[in-house]
Symmetry: C2
Subunit: 237 residues, 2 copies
């Protein structure tokens, strides 16, 4: 009943049980999802007592939040740092859209490429969680993302003054989807026969970036031309 205080003194080493639990939970959430991961699975993998989670975090829900908080804070901090630098370098001029997209999604892919410190594991979890029905997880994610999304959208609005903001919003949404699947889905849906054997993040970055920028720069709907797409261009049966 005292899960607020922590670490007897403020020194570095840290009791480590807390962190072992977080790491175990993170990995298990990727493998089985939130609901299917039980407290006993977590504490067992973390070599801790079943009561340790409630002692250190208060509840399973609070543990889930903390798993996301520790990584997401860092991810969005990095994103905003890159954006800050770009804007400083531009000295007030609008940024190139490609730079903005690279700052937002490239930073995420970099984290996903880090297999040493658990970044890869977490990004797979994050990709899955965007579509998580669980209410409080969604709300927490939205809060944690609010500032970064606002800043990056504002940058895109400035970079593309002629494009309706609603369209930019949609395309940002589409890009989020493509990236999430690129990370979370490579081993998830083995739809595509035996491929993705490498899942090499080194080559994923340029591939995804080409696709995202192509989508972002595509002609706006209703402007004709490409494949006559749009209203009624395709019929079913």
């Amino acid at each position: 009943m005292c899960f607020i205080m922590r670490a007897p003194s403020d020194r570095q080493p840290a009791p480590e049980t807390r962190d072992r639990i977080l790491d175990a939970a993170e990995a298990l959430f990727v493998e089985h999802g939130f609901e299917a991961t039980t407290m006993r699975m977590i504490t067992s993998r973390a070599d801790a007592n079943i009561a340790a989670v409630n002692y250190h975090f208060g509840s399973k829900d609070a543990l889930i939040q903390e798993v996301f908080r520790r990584r997401l804070t860092e991810l969005n901090r990095r994103r905003l740092a890159v954006l800050d630098r770009l804007e400083a370098e531009a000295q007030g001029a609008p940024l190139k859209p490609s730079r903005i997209v690279e700052a937002f999604f490239g930073t995420a892919l970099e984290m996903a490429a880090d297999t040493e410190h658990g970044g890869h594991t977490f990004m797979r979890l994050l990709g899955r969680t965007y579509t998580e029905p669980n209410g409080f997880v969604r709300q927490f994610l939205a809060e944690e993302y609010a500032e970064a999304v606002e800043r990056f959208l504002a940058a895109l609005y400035r970079a593309l003054p002629d494009v309706p903001r609603e369209e930019i919003l949609w395309r940002f949404h589409f890009m989020m989807g493509a990236m999430s699947y690129a990370i979370a889905g490579t081993d998830a849906l083995q739809l595509f026969a035996g491929t993705f054997d490498d899942a090499d993040p080194e080559r994923l970055l340029p591939r995804l970036m080409s696709f995202l920028l192509g989508g972002l720069r595509a002609p706006l709907p209703g402007q004709g031309v490409p494949g006559e797409n749009g209203k009624g261009a395709h019929r079913t049966q």
Copy 2:
């Protein structure tokens, strides 16, 4: 122990309890996910007895499979019908990539636009399920998709003979991600302040199609030009 036989005779009307359960389960799975949806929630919403699910389907897992099977079979049947028609019209010539993409993703969006017969509900569920950790659901989805994916990939390979197949595969993957989020995520992640208030599928189709085709046609990575993207173009901090 007799969940194999069904419908006393083969006449149309159908006992309806079975379908009420499927509809209730479908809706609840969207709201809460598989694990968090209990048998009692399902039978309660369907106005059926708790034992009805095991009687009609055998188990909860078998119910989940049936929820997907009845819709997915129809969706991929339609997709293949459109592809068949296009290929017949082309008389052996390769199809335009835009046509292929429209056939695959447009058909899905059409189903998502159908709010009357539960298509909308199901497509939201489907989008979420691509990233579902649950093993047997993933395997079932892969089997159900196998034929359609194979046919459409083959069509894309023919349509884009100069593009490495691996690249086409990746972009197909990215497109799947963008579409899934477009459908499943509009009300899921309310990251983007108060927008998506409409989620109007009418206008979603041309928007998504522009984005997808833009991504599909983007210059291949490593071919320089766009925003100098690719290796090392972005740095963190």
